[in-house]
Symmetry: C2
Subunit: 391 residues, 2 copies
Amino acid sequence: MRKVAILGVGHTPFTFLAEKTAVELFSEASMEAINQSNLKVSDIQAMFVGNVLGDFSEGQGMIQSYAADEIGAKNIPASRFEGACASGTMAIRDAFMWVTSGFYDIVIAGGVDTVSKMGTPLATRTFAMFTDAHYEYPSGLTFPGAFAMLAHLYSAKYSITLSRLKQQMAMVSVQSHKYGNYNHLGQLHKVITIDDVLNSGMVTSPLQLNDCCPFSDGAAAMILASEEIAKRLTDKPVYITGLGQASSGRFSAQKEYLPRLYARDVSVRQAYAMAGITPKDVDLCELHDCFSIASIIAAESLGFAEFGHGGELWEKGEADIKGRIPINMSGGLKSKGHPLGATGAAQAIDIVKQMRELVEQERQVEDVKVGLTDTLGGDGIICNLVLQRGW
Amino acid sequence: MRKVAILGVGHTPFTFLAEKTAVELFSEASMEAINQSNLKVSDIQAMFVGNVLGDFSEGQGMIQSYAADEIGAKNIPASRFEGACASGTMAIRDAFMWVTSGFYDIVIAGGVDTVSKMGTPLATRTFAMFTDAHYEYPSGLTFPGAFAMLAHLYSAKYSITLSRLKQQMAMVSVQSHKYGNYNHLGQLHKVITIDDVLNSGMVTSPLQLNDCCPFSDGAAAMILASEEIAKRLTDKPVYITGLGQASSGRFSAQKEYLPRLYARDVSVRQAYAMAGITPKDVDLCELHDCFSIASIIAAESLGFAEFGHGGELWEKGEADIKGRIPINMSGGLKSKGHPLGATGAAQAIDIVKQMRELVEQERQVEDVKVGLTDTLGGDGIICNLVLQRGW
């Protein structure tokens, strides 16, 4: 199996109410990635697209075929992946396999969704299709409910008062907005304070509005190529060195295990083992902060803090730009936005840009050699991880 | 790259209004495939599922995770593929890559949908998401409209009177029902005559009710494994020797090319080249007869008849059980049913059973060594092909 590198990357602005369709957005991101790679469209051999809600938001299925045609990549195989919010990284993992195996040399992978167009009620309803629709959703378990429950369980299990946990959670959101404010591709450009979080509207106790990421529209795409081609086209190839993917049973069936998420714990072992590294080797992490509590829980399973001590990463500045493990310097889902299918690809792309020192100076981490992208699908029952290493 | 074989196969009955959910149906098919392979659930390393409309028919996304958990395949990676009606073969093609590359040794692949549950109006509306939703569907281009247009174009291009073409189309449906009547897993068990077709209700001229496949619920799954494992577990491994996948621009943009479908023509070249064979080497074909005209058009691009002469395969009995190239001995989509995500997997499975001489005697083709599965996605803008060869 040969090494696989990321060449150019493309990333539309993440916004509310995008004027463009999902096909147009993914095409825009794809063309940016192709141009940045010094490739022609005709070099692209296959397309792998994460897309969750295209059928609902625009009444358009199989958008991958239209996107391939839109950029002029005539008649290539184009596949759509749906793993809820992990769809983008699911597509990337799959694209990796087609290149590492030698079947293709140059492919495009990423994702897109136009969620905000649906409006909040329908978006909320459709998101609930990614919990167990037959048994859990009818009991009221939407995503905010699931993650609010995790916060309560976390507080109880680790004997952290809810008031302290809410402070920690607020710090997560404050940091995300601090750096997201600099990200010109992000959705929310607004510095917030801990008081802003604690005074924001209650969504589902203990989650308040500023503990929750927004609904977003956008696309992200990257070129994956064999090492040989990468070395010919760029002096800054970013290699995909580790991947993890796992599913688990429905959220409520994991009750003994929560607030840890089983799918993530399995994926983490896979990814680090494949790359042959440990959490200590990671210089930068983009993790799945759909809700502030999700960041704390993720940081622990990813190996950056002991269980029950994740929040301290933010309390002590260890997750900050000059800390031990900078987290979500893109602004995260909270500030940058969360267009489902695009999210994981956008996280991995921000890490590529950090490695190439191409992000805004205010959020540029020094000397990033190893990065980790973490994505959750649904109410945490899918997890996809991508480990990247610079040239 | 190593050889990949199909071991056990599983196939639920295809029905109207299945009592079971998509997760239950796919689990049932999966367990049949696992048991038939003399494997344990814990041997399964990954799951690849084609599912098109789960979100609409049952309000359930990411069914692959729930299905993996339902059969007890704890925490394996499970991915969902959507390529409209080609989703099942898209999943199989992808699963093939993960095994041939050596990353996994034993995986499960297939698909499921529960379409009929939605009722005809919603099913028709959701199917139209797999035409171009922004420009074509608003002009009234649903699937029957698209294929009716192909029939008119075919008649004009090859100077075959519509009346003769309708006779040929009727022969396609009559043959499908003849053999589908014997298929105990099929949906429609009813022998029909040419008059039955020509007297059935008009859907979209020239397509009448008996030119159209039904809405269906069902699942199909197969075990893919490396050659080494296959040889240990069965004396009848069926190898996947060729694969093709391509997309094309929107249906209306192919106007100069129609009634041929560009995606199929590209896929055909890929699949035969990969297997190193020609159409003459194929002993049995299951092709995508969503409408009777689709069979005639498919048979030509697949290389079984000259262009403009596809219908003669049925007129002359060459597509019949003792003919030159038996086609759709399962009953095809027309009689067996068409539960989108399951369809391509079910076709490939029927070929496996034919090779192992496990189908009903009345539809058993003699000495099948090489089989071809053909699936179209949407209004023909995706095509996935699978070539299989017996032990």
